[in-house]
Amino acid sequence: MDSIISAASVIAAGLSIGLAAIGPGIGQGNAAGQAVEGIARQPEAENKIRGTLLLSLAFMEALTIYGLVVALALLFANPFNS
């Protein structure tokens, strides 16, 4: 395989995860902060808040996972690897 292509693929794989982690990171931070605030205000609702928080965190995590899938495709199933 062409070494330029492999170098570019490896860099792109790193970037695709790194960039995809930014948005969900901000989102998860916001969600967790709001959840803590909600629990502090209303401790008896803790269980319900925790369940919803975990579910929504997993949704946000999925966005990073899409980046991971792209990275894996670049590393292991590279379409340009003729």
Binding site: S6, A58, A62, V69, L72
Partner: protein, 242 residues
């Protein structure tokens, strides 16, 4: 040039993920991934055995396995009822429940059972959901399910929702039908594979003790992903029904 697999030289017995290597079976001209089918059959057998144990000599007062299975059914019923509402949830419990139990079983089977002890000629036994074919099949089934739900309830009037609220949104509404299965399948596939890769890389670095919390996290993530997949499937069906 590329790593064929993440090879951890010290402790390959318990965790090694091979990406892109499969144990091919040639069935009627089609190449199938045998290692996935084997684990799927195992999971199906476990679920089948559990349901037989749960329904053998049922009593008014549940005990033993019946107790366990009834609480599982209650959990599934809650998922369906929360999304679909009182009037529709009953007929969709089997579908949602099958999705949840199957994905849950697959994720946990991959995480708990030391499949590495069984040698295959090529590829390795792992969670079936770390193969994108499995998750795409599940996601496409969900697509067909919500189309069936909408068409059987409203007939051809179901397609009116594509021009709702304004016809301008038609392309976006059509696009949504493709992005739904795409995101469903990628989410499950990526999460399961990411767990296995994390464990493999960590095991390669530090073989003892350190990967354990990550393995526990993998168990947790596996159950959450099963919950999310079934919740989303129920939500899509509910959207088509409303």
């Amino acid at each position: 040039m590329y790593p064929d697999n993440f090879y951890s030289s010290t402790f390959t017995l318990l965790a090694e993920a091979e990406v892109g290597k499969h144990f091919y079976w040639n069935i009627a001209g089609f190449l199938v991934h045998g290692q996935v089918l084997l684990v799927i059959w195992f999971v199906a057998a476990v679920l089948f055995t559990l349901s037989i144990l749960g329904t053998r000599d049922t009593n008014r007062i549940p005990h033993g396995w019946q107790n366990f299975m009834e609480s599982a059914i209650d959990f599934i019923t809650d998922i369906a009822k929360n999304q679909l509402g009182e009037s529709f949830y009953k007929e969709w419990i089997p579908y949602i429940g099958t999705l949840f139990l199957f994905i849950f079983g697959c994720n946990w089977a991959g995480a708990i059972i030391p499949w590495k002890l069984i040698e295959l000629p090529e590829g390795e036994l792992a969670a079936p959901t770390n193969d994108i074919n499995t998750t795409v099949a599940l996601a496409l089934m969900t697509s067909f399910a919500y189309f069936y739900a909408g068409l059987s309830k409203k007939g051809l009037g179901y397609f009116k929702r594509y021009v709702n609220p304004i016809p301008l949104l038609l392309p976006i509404n059509i696009l949504e039908d493709f992005t739904k299965p795409l995101s469903l399948s990628f989410r499950l596939f990526g999460n399961v594979l990411a767990d296995e890769l994390t464990i493999t890389v960590l095991t390669g670095l530090v073989p003892l003790v350190i990967p354990l919390p990550i393995m526990l996290l993998g168990l947790f993530a596996g159950s959450v992903q099963a919950l999310i997949f079934s919740t989303l499937a129920a939500a899509y069906i509910a959207e088509a029904l409303e």
